[in-house]
């Protein structure tokens, strides 16, 4: 027990120092890597809210990330909103997408639910690609400038850190709340849950909306970090990112997807610097981790605990 507590304490201190002071000492490139880890950590947690807690494999979860990113870009560039208003509104746009898509998806389960979310993702991708005037077509939308304190990479990092930390805190409360308990209950046994008064359809639908809200927020932050949005974020190749992160870190824990995001982004960054065949090595590495750690990295931690 003592050993475990010590590991947690030392880890927390080192983690806090890296998270808070790290961006001050590293290059802008690495600041961007840090931002990516945070944003994708949040994104993967929203994916796992649906999968790990709700039992819903939202294969096309990237649609919410993409809609959030595009909502921000369109609100800024087409509607002329300032960056703060656009960032605040974007998650509501993706949540609305979650309400519509979720409405159709909650009635299905397993791979059928997954494929329907994926169909919505590809539909959105096609719309974005064909709409040059509005969504920029295959060029995307660029020039999403942030000014003031958040205008520097470091400043933007701290803003992102604050927003992601607050979002993760809200989601952490959610999964431990009565709502979260009912969500896990319906995943484990839908029939029992209905018989004990859970409105399973409503519960699943609300979960979709919440997951879409925070996934959209992650998308909006990522758009700002890149100062642009690209249709590739909605393409089928973007589908795997949150799934792989979640499986890498472990879907049976809240922090699993965050750990998965850190590993994924680090591996990707490191390998792209080493070889142009980085995708081959990244894929091999992920397969190895999944084969050796079927419950993800956090699964290793859990088995140590018990």
């Amino acid at each position: 027990m003592m050993g475990r507590l010590a590991i947690v304490l030392i880890g927390a201190v080192i983690g806090a120092v890296i998270v808070l002071a790290g961006p001050q000492v590293v290059s802008d490139f690495w600041v961007f890597v840090f931002i990516e880890m945070l944003v994708f950590g949040l994104y993967a947690v929203t994916f796992n809210l649906l999968l790990g807690y709700g039992g819903m494999l939202a294969f096309g979860h990237a649609v919410f990330f993409g809609v959030g990113a595009y909502a921000l870009a369109i609100l800024m560039k087409r509607a002329g909103l300032d960056v703060v208003s656009a960032t605040v509104l974007a998650p509501f746009v993706s949540a609305s997408a979650g309400a519509v898509i979720g409405y159709f998806c909650i009635r299905l389960s397993g791979i059928y639910l997954g494929m329907l979310t994926f169909a919505f993702q590809m539909l959105t991708y096609t719309i974005v690609l064909k709409s040059y005037d509005f969504a920029g077509g295959d060029d995307g939308i660029s020039g999403l400038k942030v000014s003031g304190f958040a205008g520097t990479p470091c400043g933007f990092y701290y803003v992102t850190l604050a927003v992601v930390a607050l979002s993760l805190f809200a989601l952490w409360r959610l999964v431990h709340s009565p709502f979260g308990l009912a969500l896990r209950a319906q995943r484990g046994n839908a029939r029992r849950s209905m018989a004990l008064g859970i409105n399973v359809a409503l519960h699943r639908w609300l979960t979709f909306i919440i997951a879409a809200f925070f996934a959209g927020l992650a998308g909006a932050l990522f758009a700002l970090a890149n100062q642009s949005v690209f249709p590739g974020w909605l393409n089928w190749t973007a589908t795997a990112t949150p799934i792989v992160m979640t499986i890498l870190g472990g879907m049976h824990s809240f922090v699993g997807p965050i750990v998965g995001s850190i590993i994924y982004v680090l591996l990707q960054t490191w390998l792209t610097g080493l070889t142009e065949y980085w995708a081959l090595f990244l894929g091999t590495g992920i397969i190895l981790i999944i084969m050796l750690l079927p419950n993800g990295v956090m699964g290793l931690w859990r088995s140590r605990k018990s």
Binding site: R173, L174, H176, S177, P178, F179, G180, L181, A182, R184, A185, G188, N189, R191, R192, S193, M194, A195, L196, G197, I198, N199, V200, H203, L206
Partner: protein, 254 residues
């Protein structure tokens, strides 16, 4: 006799050519321990699923305490005071004993849309009271799926009682138990129900169990009610004996 807790009139349900429920009309009086018997395939499970809102009837009416609840979905019936158990024991295996009880209690208290509270600290006393009620002595933090079959049955009963139901439906409460355990188990359920004043409707295969605790018995056969009365009336009916004799013969054959 004029104020039944459950009143079913002309209930029909077909699955393709199969009439799983054939013009079922039935009244259950308050406080009774009411058995629904019938051979395999008689439509007992369909009847249960119809009353508890898991399937919708093609026609007919279901009233609970005078209120028309036809077509209500399960969660709504739960809130109106109906609880049920399943033939195949149905608890949430990956949640702990405590969490299974908490989710039911929180549901009953309409707190499931609370998104910020710490569920782990809620309803602990209520959960302990329920375990005491069904005489289940296990570690609250144990995963429900690791309990023995009998203990899972008790937990399911406790979960069903969390809502202080007026009407409790038990689908084969002694299924999967050894013959010697069955009587003891149903008597325990009977005592709890009488103590709480809960009306119980249950299905059961074991005739010894049925006749030892029932206040009233209805016999289902091929989707329809063929007899309804006191245990001693039912026991002496030739058609019931015939149906059950046939059943027993088939069972020994199989």
């Amino acid at each position: 006799m004029s104020d039944p807790i459950l009143s079913v009139t002309g209930l029909n349900k077909s699955f393709g050519a199969l009439r799983a429920s054939n013009n079922v009309t039935l009244e259950v009086q308050r406080g009774q321990f009411h058995a629904i018997i019938g051979p395999n395939g008689a439509g007992k499970s369909t009847f249960f699923n119809l009353i508890s809102g898991f399937i919708k009837p093609d026609s007919g009416r279901i009233r609970m305490a005078g209120q028309d609840v036809t077509g209500w979905r399960p969660y709504r019936l739960f809130r109106a005071g109906m609880s049920r158990t399943f033939q195949i024991t149905s608890i949430v295996a990956e949640l702990t004993v405590l969490e299974n009880l908490q989710v039911s209690l929180l549901s009953y208290h309409r707190r499931l849309l609370n998104v910020v509270g710490n569920a782990g600290r809620m309803e602990r006393q209520g959960a302990e009271r329920l375990l005491e009620l069904v005489a289940l002595k296990v570690d609250l933090d144990r995963r429900a799926g690791t309990l023995s079959h009998g203990d899972q049955k008790k937990l399911e009963l406790a979960v069903a009682l969390a809502s202080e139901p007026r009407l409790l439906l038990l689908d084969e409460p002694t299924a999967g138990m050894a013959a010697v355990e069955r009587l003891e188990s149903i008597r325990a359920v009977h005592d709890i129900a009488k103590r709480l004043g809960v009306t119980v409707v249950f299905t059961e295969h074991d005739m010894e169990v049925v006749f030892s605790v029932s206040d009233r018995i209805s016999v289902l056969h091929q989707g329809g009610i063929i007899a309804d009365g006191l245990p001693k009336e039912i026991r002496s009916l030739p058609q019931v004996q015939q149906v059950y004799l046939g059943e027993q013969l088939e069972e020994t054959k199989g």
